[in-house]
Symmetry: C2
Subunit: 216 residues, 2 copies
Amino acid sequence: MKINDAERDALYKVIFSRRDVRKDFISTPIPNDVLERILKAGHHAPSVGFMQPWDFILVTEDQTKNALKKGYESASLESAQKFSDEKRGEYQSLKLEGILEAPLGVCVTCDRERNGPVVIGRTIKPEMDLYSTVCAIQNMWLAARAENIGLGWVSIIHDDVLRETLGIPDNIEIIAYLCLGYVSNFNDKPELEEFGWLPRGDINQLIHKEKWTNKA
Amino acid sequence: MKINDAERDALYKVIFSRRDVRKDFISTPIPNDVLERILKAGHHAPSVGFMQPWDFILVTEDQTKNALKKGYESASLESAQKFSDEKRGEYQSLKLEGILEAPLGVCVTCDRERNGPVVIGRTIKPEMDLYSTVCAIQNMWLAARAENIGLGWVSIIHDDVLRETLGIPDNIEIIAYLCLGYVSNFNDKPELEEFGWLPRGDINQLIHKEKWTNKA
């Protein structure tokens, strides 16, 4: 099946306008058919040995969100202590999650035992199943953007809090907690770039030819 | 910036027609401007704390490819021993990489020390930088598909072989070795699905509501 130039350009438009969304969520619920398309995009990610190790836990209730927000707050306080005095104030001024405001949360997990102990392509690099699950998340991120829905990955929360709050069994690996919702605005640039925390790197400094030591 | 329905549908077309390509590579070289777009798509992936921890090592020389192919062959032999007698023959009949045939190889790495020791969003979940790099790979995978270029992730090779062959420093994490090239054909379905190794799972079995135990 051939992809034409307009379709290719649409993909790039989605990739370059995708943002990690932490604010500007509005309360409009996500229609079921839209959510189904986003989850299906995740389910059609590449997976090592076609093991499809992912599960999706949908969170919509305030009680659940409140418990997760508390978990974020405690993890964020713990994190602030790790920054230098100079950076700590800046860090604490940033809004880094939208757990309560986003109408939908999705916890994405990886069942490392799915489809048996020996998986094609995971025999040498055991982390491949975790990476497959991340590919599913990136598909969902782009699908959400293409539906004009914001998505943010909340990584400042301990797995234990998610495990206990959502009742996730011990043998299931937690990869991500995602916040999804329509937004009043998509930023032109990543917030940390706009804020001056770090600049976008020069891609030419990241490309090597044949050997690490030969910068392109 | 609004994404319209045609653009959204183009994204889904790319997502659903993306394949892990191991055969059907043709030797036509990838033009520089096309390669630049694919790498730029990777560079515009989300990254924890905007750390952009990735590097891309481009492999085009036969000598390098031959060394990696040898590494694959030895890792594949080692892997075959892990399958049951019944599955081993099937495993060995599969073509699982296109190292020599694909005109371009790209090794994607993660510099876990980039931009200093404390990274926003990695304070609690240290693997977030590895996951950011996987997001870059998935962006590249979709960009390649949108350029009608096949991409395959070779995971049956020891990191040590890549490290030695490409001269990658010890403090740099190796995430993936990718094979890229134009193809004579994109399969309608994943090869392992077509071959009957595993079926595509029912997505409804993977969706939970509010708690792991509540299947949707």
